[in-house]
């Protein structure tokens, strides 16, 4: 079956994403992957797609998409109130869209970014092995740019699939306050002990607020700045960066690095535990964020618990 999607309204920002680029970091090419890896993977399971099949990552309301051709669709990630031609569709569940029908997202109830996927492959050329959009360098996705009204993307190999869903009880929590478990970063020692302790000791009850200047490259936090132990203010010789790293520029305001940079030259106070990485997709401007320092052993336990939860979620989807 041939089908296509047409963008009626792109919401605040919608992009083509997939599992991202891997193996090119030595030439400065970042992953640009879907920010919520679990929501993205679950989406493809709901639709019986091959893992990593490209989808749309959207934030904001008013997003609307018209289908030409019959296709099975699902929306995961942020919990939304969405309608297909006026009939409400369940979040994290596959539903059939007939040719000529329109999907509209009216409200985002919890979380920030949501993922819209189809039981077919968007006919876009992979760039360096991925269809993810690198917005800063304008390649990948649809001509390297966000979708705009009127954009049309053909879907190849569309088929109807069983109407699978994730039970409401299994949809991950995405709302604030966000407590992020944090491992020590390589440059922890560049901060005063008091300041570092306050920054990530949950007992000290220090909250940060997500800045409106945050974007897909990094989440900027406002709140009490960290203090550097020495006058050089923690500038380091630039080196490789991992997603989830909390970088601190000279002004002391932490930035959580996402999936768009391979190198950086600011002191790295910490790194968010892998179990909490998907949550970073859902930090909205003004949300409250707190860091909770963990040991590598505790991070491994969190990671195991997350693994069990993900397995049980997948089991519920079936297939």
């Amino acid at each position: 079956m041939d089908a296509a999607i047409e963008v009626v309204n792109p919401g605040w920002l919608s992009l083509v994403v997939d599992a991202g680029r891997s193996g090119f970091a030595h030439m400065g090419v970042p992953s640009s992957s879907a920010l919520d890896g679990l929501a993205f993977a679950a989406l493809n399971r709901l639709l019986e797609n091959a893992p990593g099949t490209a989808a749309l990552e959207v934030f904001g309301t008013e997003f609307a998409l018209r289908f030409s051709g019959d296709v099975t669709v699902a929306v995961t990630g942020a919990r939304t109130t969405a309608f297909l031609d006026g009939a409400q569709v369940e979040p994290w569940a596959a539903f059939d869209a007939k040719a000529g029908s329109t999907l509209r997202v009216a409200q985002v109830l919890e979380g920030f970014r949501y993922y819209v996927g189809f039981s077919g492959t968007m006919e876009l050329p992979p760039v360096m092995g991925s269809r993810s959009t690198n917005l800063e360098c304008t390649f990948g996705g649809l001509a390297g740019r966000p979708l705009v009204k009127g954009d049309r993307i053909a879907l190849a190999g569309c088929r109807r699939v069983a109407r699978r869903s994730v039970p409401a009880s299994h949809i991950p929590a995405m709302g604030p306050p966000h407590v992020l478990h944090l491992l020590d970063g390589p440059e922890k020692e560049l901060f005063t002990a008091d300041s570092f302790d306050k920054f990530c000791n949950i007992e000290k009850n220090l909250w940060y607020s997500v800045s409106a200047k945050s974007n897909r490259t990094g989440i900027r936090l406002q709140g009490e700045p960290l203090s550097f132990a020495r006058a050089e203010k923690g500038g380091i010789v630039s080196e490789g960066l991992l997603p989830g790293t909390v970088q601190v520029p000279p002004d002391g305001a932490p930035i959580i690095v996402l999936f768009e940079k391979t190198m950086g030259g600011y002191a790295r106070a910490g790194i968010v535990a892998s179990a909490d990485l998907d949550r970073l997709a859902h930090l909205r401007p003004k949300d409250r964020v707190m860091f909770d320092r963990v040991s590598p052993g505790e991070a491994a336990e969190l990671s195991n618990a997350r693994g069990s939860y993900v397995s049980s979620l997948y089991k519920n989807i079936g297939g």
Binding site: G28, V237, S274
Partner: protein, 213 residues
């Protein structure tokens, strides 16, 4: 060489703390050796000025396993060949509309524009790392006479192809991008093309000479 963890999926090999050609050679040797070795579970290797970051899949290996594998190969790694680096000549149109910071650099260094160009084109630079932007070469060492600090407030948009300097480094902006280095010229060479393998003109260790177009 120190082997240190970084988060749950990173292993840092640290070879020094200063930007020197000696440290660079150690990083490059380790990088080339480890890339060829194809250690199980390693998904990316990011070499930079003083370190190599190994990114690994925690489902396929662990920090301890990987650290062990690196230690085992330490001797072999130290003796690995470096290969001949490539040499590139990059034509640059200096000053004028393409080099909006040339006057500042002249004022800072006390040199005339001709002397700045002469100084920038007379050295052969080493690619210490590729990053910041896809294909962006961090080149050095720059002659101390050309030392200028970064801009206090980065420009919102530096045009692709801009040749810039900051502190003791020089580089080429491979995409339109925000940037805080001082722009002294522009090249028509496009050092990165995501549509065409091998994508990046520059690799770590390559040698670069600028020529005045």
């Amino acid at each position: 060489m120190e082997i240190l963890p970084y988060g749950e999926n990173g292993l840092r090999l640290v070879f020094g703390s200063e930007i020197t050609l000696e440290t660079h050679a150690l990083v490059r040797r380790a990088y080339l050796y480890l890339r060829a070795a194809g250690l199980a579970g390693v998904t990316d290797i990011i070499p930079s000025f003083t370190t190599c970051l190994l990114v690994f899949d925690g489902g396929r290996t662990s920090f301890e396993k990987l650290a062990g594998a690196v230690r085992e190969r330490r001797g072999e790694m130290a003796g690995a060949g470096l290969g001949e680096p490539k040499t590139h000549e990059i034509p640059v149109t200096y000053g004028g509309e393409f080099g909006p910071d040339m006057d500042t650099v002249c004022a800072y260094s006390g040199l005339t524009e001709e002397e700045v160009v002469e100084c920038h084109t007379s050295a052969v630079y080493t690619v210490f790392a590729v990053g910041f932007l896809p294909g962006f070469p961090y080149l050095g060492p720059l002659d101390k006479k050309l030392f200028v600090p970064r801009l206090d407030a980065p420009r919102v948009k530096v045009p692709e192809g801009s040749v810039a300097i900051a502190q003791l480094q020089t580089g080429i902006y491979t995409f339109d991008s925000p940037g805080g280095w001082r722009i002294i010229g522009r090249t028509h060479i496009r050092p990165f093309d995501p549509e065409r393998p091998p994508y990046s003109l520059f690799a770590m260790g390559d040698q670069v000479r600028f020529v005045s177009a």
